[in-house]
């Protein structure tokens, strides 16, 4: 099993093939519309597309002009339009408008819609209702998986979180199952699957059904990934709501990492333009600091710059030949490293500046007391002041949610007053935001007694039906309790430390939150893998509202000698944070195993809050 002794973690499988598959399919689809064509790309598909096929590849396949969806084509546009879109109703209406406008002006064109990752019937319905279904041809680009790094694969579906957890919309489960099927066919068969959460369970079931239908060809192949662990985001909101303090997380919180790269603005680059930097294991500087606590990063960077200087300095004693070698072999690498180093130092400075401005220390302190569960009153007043001073709508909301979820809901008085304060500060439209937060269970009122909501009692009448049975637990989330305090105690999430926690030489996963808190999601994964199942965790499971599973594929040989047994695919449904990634990377290093991350999207507290905010129409 994975945790036997301390071994070197195995290398992750090569995920480059996923990119090649996606590129080949896209090229094929583009070729299906021969001749010059203009390509309209959905805004949030642009960055992922860029990672798969750059502009020159598109041009090679007769793409003439590129437009962002929602922009009107120029008058001299091509006779063929190709739309590369997500299956969304809004986008369909945009396309229908273009087609109808062309019809009005008597212009005839060919239209092709490529849905990624798959087509939804509702989209076709809209096209039909708008009367353009006969004018367009539809295709699917099965681009489910984008490898962001050697161990991170993203589905790039940020709307998954809101659609599933808030709206109860199940349509993204199918793409998840298909993504699993794809990974299983390339790197599987996965011997063992664990999971917790309703969505995890449904995705897993659907995936198994798909496998059964396709009569798996991969039998008997040597797997590259041995285990898979699926987890719903709503199992652990706390971790996602915490401020991130490992470098990669901080960069994400501060600058927003988009699709594996970040735009460093002028304040970082200390020039007048921003630079786009790809953040992954290829970046030698970044790969060494990404998982470090921020407090150790500065020290590391200055050490690094001294080393770099020393390497430059070696030039001095060189003769001509050595100099020649140095210039031809090392200099370029050094220069590159130098450039990256100065960028990251710039980024650190910028982060420091921003954080001190916002009383970062105070916030962290308040957060820690919330996690540990003391001085709740003080924290509440801190949040109140935060709201009153209009520090940041997202931040205020985040702290309110963190308070609610760690305390199993706010006491009625605070619930009302904080919300009133918030509305006064940030605008009345947030009334809807609060409604959403209540629905999803992030900001609730402590209930005096357990009362079923009207919907629930209605639904429970229908439990005989299998489908309705599923639904009953869906609505549990309405009144679901987070039970954070009890779980934290059971799993020992708050480390007891004598003296200062050494952030440079961490002992456990708590280091990603400054030694104050072991991320719940990661702790569950650790425990389940260690126990090879859920035995002994019954109480925790109950507190987490159940829906756990653990399934072995009997057809897969369980060969402990295989490296793949120590490669674990962790699937986060609803997003995962860089802090969680860092924590599991640390765990992997400790236990000699490798974690691969598959997430619907990279998330952080701000993205989660934004997903809940009801934008003004």
């Amino acid at each position: 099993m994975a945790f036997a002794g301390r071994r070197d973690a195995p290398e992750p499988p090569d995920f480059g093939i996923l990119k090649r598959l996606a590129r080949d399919q896209l090229v094929y689809l583009l070729e299906q519309l021969p001749g010059k064509k203009d390509l309209f790309i959905e805004a949030d598909l642009m960055s992922p597309l860029d990672r798969i096929a750059n502009v020159s590849i598109l041009k090679q396949h007769d793409v003439d002009k590129l437009y962002k969806v929602e922009t009107r084509p120029a008058p001299g546009a091509s006779d063929q339009f190709c739309f590369l879109v997500r299956p969304r109703v809004r986008t369909m209406r945009f396309i229908a408008d273009i087609v109808n406008a062309d019809k009005m002006s008597g212009r005839s064109r060919k239209y092709k819609i490529i849905f990624s990752p798959q087509k939804f019937y509702a989209c076709e319905m809209v096209l039909e209702e708008e009367g353009v279904f006969g004018d367009v041809t539809c295709d699917e680009w099965s681009f489910y998986l984008l490898p962001l790094d050697e161990d991170i694969i993203s589905m790039e579906l940020p709307e998954f979180f809101r659609d599933y957890f808030l709206e109860g919309d199940h349509r993204w489960i199918n793409p998840v199952a298909r993504a699993l099927q794809l990974l299983n066919s390339l790197y599987g068969p996965f011997g063992k699957a664990y999971g917790i959460g309703r969505c995890a369970k449904m995705s897993h079931e659907l995936w198994r059904d798909l496998e059964e239908e396709s009569e798996g060809e991969g039998q008997g192949r040597k797997p590259e990934i041995g285990h898979v662990f699926l987890m719903d985001r709503d199992v652990d909101y706390v971790t996602a709501l915490c401020s991130q303090v490992v470098y990669e997380g901080l960069v994400d919180d501060t600058f927003r990492i988009k699709c594996g790269s970040v735009d460093f603005g002028p304040d970082v680059t200390s020039s007048d333009r921003s630079i786009k930097v790809l953040l992954n294991a290829q970046d030698k500087v970044f790969s060494q600091i990404r998982n470090e606590h921020f407090s150790s990063v500065f020290g590391f960077l200055s050490q690094k710059s001294r080393n770099l200087q020393a390497q430059y300095d070696r030039r001095r004693g060189m003769d001509i030949k050595q100099m020649k070698d140095f210039v031809s072999q090392e200099l370029k690498g050094l220069k590159q490293e130098h450039r990256l180093l100065s960028l990251h130092i710039g980024a650190c400075e910028s982060i420091m500046k921003k954080k001190t401005k916002q009383d970062f220390q105070e916030t962290i302190k308040a957060e820690h007391s919330l996690l540990e569960g003391f001085d709740i009153r003080e924290s509440t007043s801190f949040i109140e002041e935060h709201i009153d001073r209009q520090v940041s709508p997202i931040e205020s909301l985040r702290l309110m949610c963190l308070l609610s979820i760690t305390e199993n809901g706010l006491i009625p008085k605070d619930y009302r007053s904080l919300k009133t304060q918030y509305l006064q500060s940030y605008g009345p439209e947030h009334l809807l935001t609060f409604h959403n937060l209540k629905r999803i269970g992030l900001l609730t009122e402590q209930a005096a007694g357990e009362t079923l909501t009207a919907v629930e009692s209605k639904v429970s009448k229908l439990v005989t039906d299998r489908a309705a049975g599923k639904i009953t637990d869906a609505f549990n989330s309405l009144a679901r309790k987070s039970n954070f305090r009890a779980i934290s105690k059971k799993l020992g999430l708050i480390p007891r430390v004598e003296g200062e926690y050494d952030l440079k030489m961490p002992r456990d996963m708590a280091y990603v939150f400054g030694g104050a808190y072991v991320p719940l999601s990661c702790k569950i994964i650790e425990q389940v893998l260690e126990r090879r199942g859920w035995q002994g965790l019954e109480e925790v499971v109950r507190l987490l509202n159940g829906n756990e599973f653990s399934v072995s594929d009997s057809t897969v040989e369980d060969n402990p000698a295989w490296e793949s047994q120590r490669v674990i695919l962790t699937v986060f449904l609803g997003g995962c944070t860089f802090s969680e990634i860092a924590a599991l990377r640390f765990l992997g290093k400790e236990r000699g195993c490798k974690f691969i991350f598959l997430t619907t999207a990279i998330t952080n507290s701000a993205r989660m809050m934004e997903a809940m905010i009801e934008a003004r129409a």
Binding site: G168, A177, D209, L423, P428, L431, A467, A468
Partner: protein, 837 residues
């Protein structure tokens, strides 16, 4: 075996023909065949018979349409109730085509069950069909008709009906002597003879043609025959002269004078692939003639009325009592069985016989073959010849010889032998008179096993088909499963069994055989009007996705919805939901959704983007006041005018009240109040206030110096003191109204303390103002305040007063060695003293 060649008849130098009996017919016909319309399908197919249609015109007696197997077993019969029949014919898929005088073509299956009908055009209705022919080309089965107006129409593929009316033949006043459909270079044309002239009719033109080398004394054409592959043509003239050549009329092979001047009943080609002779079989009432490239011909006497059926490799001859096959002896058989043949195969056969007799001659024969190194060829010949034999006994002796020869060969690939054994077993099984498909080996290879299985399935011979699949080890999906599915489809049509019985029988037999689609079977059941059975069968379908479309078709939408949800496929759910939306009235539709939360939430999502008003109706239906309130709040934002916005919020307020959501109601009320106030402000100050939060509104008022108005709002909206103080001092500082700030600070005791005053002032780089407030800061925070304003002396003093090490450290960290050296020293000393205690 001495008499083996007894029934061989030579034609010319090289070719032999033989006639062998396939079956003695079981059908016990009372009439002569000449009284019936007969059609037999090629490839050993079934025979259709319509009795006394032409002669007996008495309307009272209905003729009987009968279908027999090739061995004469009755498959089905049905009284013919439709119009006058002109011609019967079979399609490639073994459907019976009945061409009526009025141009309607009725299609029946093998069991006389009506399938469909189509018409050969309106023009025919008046003119009637005089003659018709069914023909087969690479496009499928075609029908050609000659109308009473002497015009030809044809359709090359009845499954994709495109009628073509051919051009008129100039001067045609009477039916042509004979005609035939030719297929040349993927074009179908009609060749017709008018007296001694030949015309070729294509899509656009009619051209006169002359066969090369036609004898001048030939006389008018009476009959013509096109070969199975459309390549050869034979013409019979009234002088008894027969011309044989290419159908393109570019080359003549040979001619023959039969000296029979009466028109033959039938004339068909009798050839085979790689034929040595190309011969034509001509049948009169009582005699049969095989003529080819030879001055002689083979004559047979016919005892009874006979009907010729051309095949790929010979001719079948049907009569009242027997069913015979006339064909040219294939090469391999000829080599082996020809009298005194010294071919290796013949020697091998002989050797094996001697071996069985335990005679040493076996060795001599074998030696002879091996000396010429022809043993592999000998084995090959025996295997091949076995395929051409009809008698299992002969097949066996040939195979035995082959197997004997194989023993003396190293590395003779066994496939051909094994394959032949298997094929012969299959062929013998289907040739059995109970089955009655007299396929020859050549036909079988041309037809392929898949088609053969289809034909068995068509005849509902499921067990045999399955046995063959199992015997040949065909993959389940193409073999057994497919047949079982067909079986099940025909099972559901058995009306005498109850739904329960049928469903159970099907499930028992099919189980979870891979490749079986229960939904397909259910579809068939539904098509036969057995909806209940269809639902039962669908229960066995493991993929719910497959169940849904049929359930929808059956109008079981609610069941379909349940199944769709179970499948986890949201597209399916959408399909059903939108289907329901069109099918049900709005009220029932919503009610249905209320019971299916998954569907409901999907539909809500759809409405949210596409039909917002429907969303409102949905909530209304459910009395979901909370959501209705939210809906109104949401729509208020799209209102540009304040009045509109207030109106929408009023609606929301009502709903929130109904939902007993006090908080939301109050918040909405306040918002309405704020909006009204903002309108006044907008009028008073001519500045946009809309879309500002309460905080921002007050803040803006202060920034603009309307302190009174701000104060008013503060009271009216009961803004908490703390917030108001924070808000006011930051706004004042931004505005730079320090005087007002000082006044404000003295108005009463600050609820937020005085540190914020310091901070705000410092933030706006006004240390001077900041210093004013520092002393008022309570002792606990004073050090921080002094540090902020940069008064390190005071800060140090305060810190020392508090005797707090942390505070001292804070001040120390701010001391720069150059300017504050003395202070730092003082502090360090104090700290040391503190630590000593």
């Amino acid at each position: 075996m001495d008499c083996y060649t007894a029934n061989w008849y030579p034609l010319g130098e090289e070719a032999f023909y033989r006639k062998l009996e396939l079956y003695s017919m079981e059908w016990g016909l009372r009439e002569d065949l000449r009284d019936c319309v007969v059609a037999a399908a090629p490839y050993g197919g079934p025979i259709a018979l319509l009795r006394n249609s032409r002669r007996d015109k008495a309307p009272s007696s209905r003729p009987l349409l009968e279908i027999y197997s090739a061995s004469g077993l009755l498959l089905a019969s049905v009284p013919w109730k439709s119009g006058r029949l002109v011609q019967l014919g079979w399609t490639a898929g073994e459907d019976l085509l009945c061409i009526q005088e009025d141009g309607t073509v009725l299609v029946y299956n093998l069991f006389c069950e009506f399938k469909r009908h189509f018409s050969m055009g309106n023009e025919v209705l008046q003119n009637h069909v005089l003659e018709a022919q069914v023909f087969h080309t690479e496009f499928g089965t075609g029908v050609a008709i000659l109308t009473g107006a002497f015009r030809f129409s044809l359709a090359t593929n009845i499954d994709d009906l495109k009628l073509r009316r051919l051009p008129e033949v100039p001067g045609l006043q009477q039916p042509p002597g004979c005609w035939a459909v030719l297929s040349q270079d993927r074009v179908t044309v009609v060749l017709l003879a008018v007296g001694p002239e030949l015309f070729l009719l294509d899509n656009t033109s009619c051209s006169s043609v002359t066969p090369p080398g036609l004898s001048p004394s030939a006389g008018p054409f009476l009959h013509m025959a096109v070969s199975f592959n459309h390549r050869l043509l034979a013409l019979f003239c009234d002088s008894g002269y027969i011309w044989m050549g290419l159908a393109t009329l570019k080359e003549k092979f040979c001619e023959f004078n039969s000296t029979v001047r009466s028109p033959p009943k039938q004339m068909v080609w009798c050839t085979r692939p790689r034929s040595r002779q190309r011969a034509v079989v001509v049948a009169w009432e009582r005699q049969l003639m095989v003529v080819g490239n030879s001055s002689e011909c083979i004559r047979f006497v016919l005892d009874e009325d006979s009907h010729l059926v051309p095949e790929l490799d010979g001719v079948r001859i049907l009569s009242r009592t027997s069913h015979e096959f006339l064909h040219e002896i294939p090469e391999a058989s000829q080599e082996i069985f020809r009298i005194a043949s010294m071919a290796p195969g013949a020697l091998l056969l002989e050797a094996q016989k001697e071996y069985e007799k335990e005679s040493q001659k076996a060795d001599e024969y074998l030696r002879e073959i091996r000396e010429q190194q022809l043993l592999p060829e000998a084995v090959g010949q025996c295997i091949e010849a076995a395929g051409y034999e009809h008698e299992p006994h002969t097949q066996k002796s040939l195979l035995r010889a082959a197997s004997f020869g194989k023993c003396f060969l190293d590395k003779f690939p066994p496939e051909s032998f094994v394959r032949m054994c298997q094929d012969l077993r299959v062929l013998n099984a289907i040739r059995d008179y109970q089955i009655g498909i007299p396929l020859t080996f050549t036909q079988y290879k041309q037809l392929t096993i898949e088609v053969l299985l289809d034909r068995l399935v068509l005849r509902r011979l499921y067990p045999l088909a399955i046995r063959i699949c199992e015997f040949l080890r065909l993959p389940e999906i193409q073999g057994v499963s497919r047949i079982l599915a067909h079986w099940a489809c025909s099972k559901v049509q058995q009306k005498d069994k109850s739904d329960e019985e049928v469903a159970q029988a099907i499930n028992q037999k099919l189980g979870d055989t891979p490749g079986i689609s229960y939904s397909e079977i259910a579809t068939r059941a539904y098509d036969c009007g057995r909806a209940e059975l269809a639902i039962k069968l669908l229960e066995y379908e493991p993929r719910s996705g497959e169940q849904v479309p049929l359930l929808l078709k059956m109008k079981r939408s609610k069941l379909a919805l349940g199944k769709a949800i179970e499948s986890g496929d949201t597209d399916l759910v959408y399909t059903v939901v939108l289907h329901l939306k069109n099918e049900l009235n709005r009220g029932t539709f919503f009610m249905t959704l209320q019971n299916q939360p998954v569907a409901l939430s999907l539909y809500r999502q759809f409405c949210r983007h596409q039909e917002r008003d429907t969303l409102k109706d949905l909530y209304n239906q459910d009395d979901n006041h909370q959501e209705l309130g939210n809906f109104h709040v949401h729509s208020s934002y799209s209102e540009k005018r304040i009045e509109g916005r207030v109106g929408a919020l009023q609606n929301a307020l009502d709903e929130f009240n109904k939902a007993r959501n006090d908080f939301a109601a109050k918040a909405t009320e306040e918002q309405i109040k704020l909006l009204r106030l903002q309108r006044h402000l907008q009028e008073d100050f001519d500045k946009p206030y809309l879309d500002l939060s309460l905080h921002d509104t007050v803040s803006t008022l202060i920034l603009d110096g309307h302190y009174k108005r701000a104060e008013q709002l503060y009271r009216e909206f009961k803004i908490p003191d703390k917030r108001y103080w924070w808000l006011k001092i930051s706004a004042l500082a931004t505005r730079g109204d320090w005087e007002e700030m000082e006044k404000f600070s003295k108005s009463k005791k600050s609820p937020i303390g005085y540190l914020p005053f310091v901070e705000v002032a410092v933030k706006h780089h006004n240390r001077y103002e900041a210093r004013k407030y520092a002393p008022r800061v309570p002792p606990e925070q004073r050090v921080k305040a002094f540090v902020l304003v940069g008064d390190l002396e005071q800060a140090a003093e305060a810190a020392m007063e508090h005797k707090s090490e942390a505070e001292m450290n804070l001040v120390l960290s701010r001391c720069s060695p150059g300017t504050d050296g003395a202070l730092a020293e003082k502090l360090t000393r104090a700290r040391a003293q503190l630590l000593k205690k």
